[in-house]
Subunit: 214 residues, 2 copies
């Protein structure tokens, strides 16, 4: 397996190092000689030059690589031009590209990128959901004899507004979050009507959770 | 559930937006008024000011937030100072911080960060392994009547160098990768000795894969 990494910023450099750890044959390219030199001892091949120069790009023999990654984030025009050249002119089978913004991602897709990676956005979404999971776990850990369960919203309240349901009085549970079509809401709108298929993440005593699960 | 996001670069902004989608109550803070204004309509609360100013930091009432995220990547000193102040002086229960480099991560851990996020490094590692998995799948798809299997390295070759094993002749398979202690190698060193516990990812005809699996 081999891979070519074009652009050796933090993302490109970390990618090259991880592939080398997996004993993949790596070509690393950048116009900045210091960055090329920093990786020259680690990777199989390193090259220095301007990737927007089509002659230089063609001289790299990229067609013999399984995977090529365009790891240039902040120069959006360069990133899109290189990706377009690799996919449409050189007809490479697989090109992944790093994106900095949603518009950048869209342009890379139009240019033909097979995979678009936006590290900040993906890490942000991942952390948001990690915090959500922690909120559920933290809530559970402070309620000693309470559990947490994921239950289908009861048929008896389909079509009823969340705010009109007396969760404590009627079901003896606390509604932590509502999940609908894979999207989780921690403070569902009180005017929101319960739909069949809604899932509730609720906290309560085990007997009450069990009753809801039936 | 509520969360405070300190620093509204691409990571902080995407994090705030995703939490708002999950209907979490969000406080967004930055010294740059344009960035604060951009999010002011989306989040519950927004504030503008210098987060390295301890009086300003204390005025935000962060103790009433479940989670606080320091989303300042490029000013390492500011990021570490703010994290230290939040954990050691304000004694906040949970602080996540964004890091730009390994040294930055280490400093954030020393400062007491509960979670350190390095988007470029994590995305790079994830892409490296995605490419590895694709390499295995691609290899499989071009060999019509061949399969791929993960098998324990046979006891008969424990202690033998990889390069001294005639994979084709003896086992009638091609060694795609070797997995040892959760670390995968696509081109294992030919001088590397097979250890008990090694797993091989091999390609071959089903009957030969089955023979190896016994
Ligand atoms: N036209 C080009 N030819 C060759 N190398 C280039 C070209 N443009 C940018 N680079 C290199 O690509 C690397 C990454 O570029 P840049 O810093 O713009 O991306 P980034 O995505 O912001 O970086 P990071 O991965 O650190 O977040 C730099 O080392 C830069 O020298
Ligand atoms: N001392 C400070 N007080 C308040 N806001 C700050 C301070 N230092 C930096 N910021 C803000 O934090 C935000 C993110 O900072 P910066 O651009 O350094 O981080 P980054 O991690 O490189 O960004 P990105 O998330 O876009 O990759 C910026 O909007 C900046 O205005």
């Amino acid at each position: 397996m081999n891979a070519a990494i074009l652009g050796l910023g933090r993302f490109g450099t970390q990618l090259a190092r991880e592939l080398v750890k997996m004993r993949v044959d790596v070509l690393a390219v950048d116009s900045n000689s210091a960055r090329v030199n920093e990786l020259a001892e680690t990777v199989l091949l390193a090259a220095e030059g301007n990737l927007t120069d089509v002659d230089f790009l063609e001289s790299l023999g990229l067609r013999s690589y399984d995977y090529v990654v365009v790891a240039i984030g902040s120069d959006i025009a360069a990133s899109v031009l290189i990706t377009l050249t690799l996919k449409q002119r050189l007809r490479l089978k697989f090109v992944a590209a790093k994106s900095a913004t949603e518009d950048h991602s869209r342009a890379l897709e139009l240019a033909g990128a097979d995979v678009v990676v936006n590290p900040e956005r993906e890490a942000a979404v991942r952390l948001a959901h990690t915090l959500g999971a922690r909120a559920v776990a933290d809530y559970m850990s402070i309620q000693a004899d309470y559990g947490i369960a994921k239950v289908r919203a009861p048929a008896s309240v389909h079509g009823i507004k969340i705010g009109d349901i007396d969760m404590q009085g009627r079901f003896k549970v606390f509604l932590l979050a509502r999940v609908r079509e894979a999207s989780v809401s921690f403070n569902p709108d009180l005017g929101d009507v319960v739909k069949p298929g809604d899932t509730w993440i609720v906290s309560g005593r085990d007997a009450d959770l069990a009753a809801l699960q039936r």
